[in-house]
Every structure is written in C-alpha cells, then in structure tokens.
Symmetry: C2
Subunit: 228 residues, 2 copies
C-alpha cells in the first residue's frame, strides 16, 4: 500500500520532514503502511533487522523480558518516532503496540540507501536519535528518583503531556494507555506498588480515577511537587 504523505499526521515532525517534495516522493515509493492492534508485535528480540519504521499514530513500547519472564519497558515510542536497528544485524528488543497504531514501514536496505543518497535524512535521524538518547537518560535519572510515588507522579505527568496533541500544555483528563503491569514494567516496580501509589494519589486528592484507565489531574501543582 503506497504511502500518502499528504495526509500524514507527522508529516512535519518525522525524520522524512527533512526531505523536499521530490525526495519525499521517492522515499514514499519505497515504503508501505501497516497498522497494528493493541498487543500486536512489530519486532521480536532476535528477529533479523530487515525493516524499520516511522510511527504515524498510536503508541509503541520497546521492551526487554529478562530470564525470569519479567518485562521491562525501555522506552515508549510516540508518533514521529523511528524504530528499527539501522546498524545491527538483529533487533535487540521487542517492539509492541500499546494502542492501535499506524506506521510507515521500510525495508532496511532501502532506507539505508536513502540515507546514503539524502544526507538531510541522515541528519534528521541523527537529530532524532540524539533526542531518543536524551530521553533514555532522563529515564535513567528517573529510576534514581527516590520513592515509587515520585516515579508514578512523573509518569502521569509525562502521559498527560503526550495525551494532549499540543506539546505546550498537558491534558487534565485522559485515559492511561498502559495497564498497571506496563506501568510497573516501565518504572521498575511491581503491579501492586503501582496500584497502591495510584490509590494513594487519589486519597490525597491529587488525581481522580474516572474509570479503570481514566485519570483526571485535580491538583497539578502537587503532582508536580511529588514528581520532584
């Protein structure tokens, strides 16, 4: 299925936005669309790294399951994010859809050739990779934050920011795209601790649960204080 860049929601933010019309058109001929339902797997760790993709809409997780079967979420991938190993023969992590998602899929070889031919694309990917690196390091710093409460507060804030389309202000009420287990995996906690911290935040009047997944932030200032 040929790509339709005209109506692409990340037309101006994804790596390909660095290309001019003609180049983009050429890249578009190489790619195809794919949709994923919640829970569908894009890559398994250990797969051959023969495709890469730009996320169009939805939400993905990059995860690692250890020997005991515990899943640790290494990163979330938001729209305009790029996934796939460009310089390694195999995928190193699982990549799974957290919500119904849509992405532009490319053969890795094709994409590498495109990088060769369009230096602007290489620079755009470098920029994005640097950004991802920064976010991964933020995540590491977050892990150092004392207390499960601070981690949860931080996560809620960041999900609220992602839930609103505009990057400038966060949503006051939204649905968590993650199960308790996924939140636990993302923060290095257990399901029970996540659940307890959430009820604690509710008891303290910082948030209100508007459903099993729904959240309303009733006291943003205190939430920010808790997040450190």
């Amino acid at each position: 299925m040929k790509l339709h860049c005209d109506t692409c929601p990340v037309r101006d933010s994804a790596a390909c936005s660095a290309l001019d019309e003609e180049q983009r058109e050429e890249l578009a001929r190489l790619g195809s669309h794919r949709t994923l339902e919640r829970g569908e797997v894009l890559f398994h760790a250990g797969d051959e790294a023969d495709v890469c993709a730009t996320l169009n809409s939805g939400l993905l997780k990059i995860a690692h399951v250890d020997a005991d079967g515990n899943e640790r979420i290494l990163s979330l991938v938001h729209p305009a994010g790029f996934v796939g190993e460009m310089f390694a023969p195999v995928e190193k992590h699982d990549i799974v859809a957290l919500t119904a998602s849509r992405l532009c899929l490319f053969d890795r070889r094709d994409y590498e050739r495109a990088i060769e031919r369009f230096p602007a694309l290489a620079r755009a990917l470098l920029r994005r990779s640097s950004q991802d690196l920064f976010e991964a390091r933020e995540q590491i710093a977050l892990d150092a934050r004392k207390g499960a409460g601070a981690k949860i507060a931080n996560l809620i804030r960041s999900l609220a920011r992602a839930a609103s389309q505009s990057p400038c202000h966060s949503a006051g009420e939204f649905d968590l795209p993650l199960t308790r287990g996924e939140m636990a995996g993302l923060l290095g906690l257990t399901i029970e601790t996540v659940s307890r911290q959430l009820t604690r935040l509710e008891k303290d009047g910082v948030i209100a649960k508007t459903g099993p997944r729904g959240i309303r932030i009733t006291d943003p200032a205190r939430l920010a204080a808790l997040a450190g």
Copy 2:
C-alpha cells in the same frame, strides 16, 4: 594545538574514521586537543553548547545532580565516544573526567558544517548515537535487575571488559576507575551498599581486593552467574 590524527589511538574507531584522508585532514584543521585531569569538568549542565568533542583516551562520566545534591551517573564515555549536544542550545548534563583524559575539541558550529559537507560523518555519528542509545537502554534494563549484588557484579564485568584494550576478552585484574560514590551514582545505590556488596563478593571468594581500587576477579564464572 593542531590535531595529530596519525598517532591517534581511536583513529580507526571514532566517528572521524569514516572520512577519507583529505576530509580528515580538513576536519583536523578545525579541532584542537585538550587534556583533562581526573575531576576536571568539560561541561556543566546549563552551559551553552558551543563545543563538542571526541574522547581520545581516558574515561568521562555524563552525570546529573538532582535537587538534593545526589549525583546520578547517566553514562560512562569510553575512548572514541562523542560528547556534546549537536541539536540543543545548551548542555543538559555535567561531563567530567574520571581519569586523566585527552580529547579532540571542536567548535560546535564548525562540526555541524562538517556534517553538512561530509555525509559520511553524519552517518558515522548516527551509528555512534544509535550505539549510545542501545547502551543507555541496557543501563535501564540493568536498573531493573533485582538486587544490589547483581548490579555490582554487572558493573565489575563491564569495567573489566573496558579495562582490557581488546574488546574480545576482559581483564582479570585491574583498577576501578570509579570511587565507591561514583559506582553508587552509576547504579542508583548508596556508597554503603556498594561497599558492603564488594566485601561480600570478596568474602564469597568471587573477587579479591588488591588495593583500595584494585580488583582481581578470582571466580569469573560465579561473577557472571551473579550478574544474571
């Protein structure tokens, strides 16, 4: 001080190794050498991001100090590593030498222009950035590892690998380039816990302390088992 690429220890592994002789020569004219003693600061968080650098020899840390004054080490930078924000106006983290270090320093603007002119350099940096991203995610996965013992065991193994020049096999005896406090900051633990775990490893006959910083790995198999 003009760069001497001929004798550079990372001539074949740093980003600039992607350039041909002529291009490298041109890049070399833009850069200068700098040496750092242990503890010397290359960047402070919040500094204007006007230089970037390739590490030639030595060891750096990328660190973040939180509101309480606790330092969390986000990453170590080994020779051939690249530091400096290419796409952000300010440095986001402290970068400090852990051992006497030598690096090639470039004005950020100059380097950005070089990236524009030498697409191979952009690709090499992209490759390196991807590698750093992978390592950052490994670090996140490490944080999830249960038990301080596993973290310490892992750290010792990775430092042993870095201590030997060849990437294929690790050193059996070496000096830790990090203080207890730095190890604690890297692993998200306290100094006391690090100290206790190290004496525990010694009591169990897994390692021997050959000095305040010296380490000999006496039972590599068990160390590997402990690291998970």
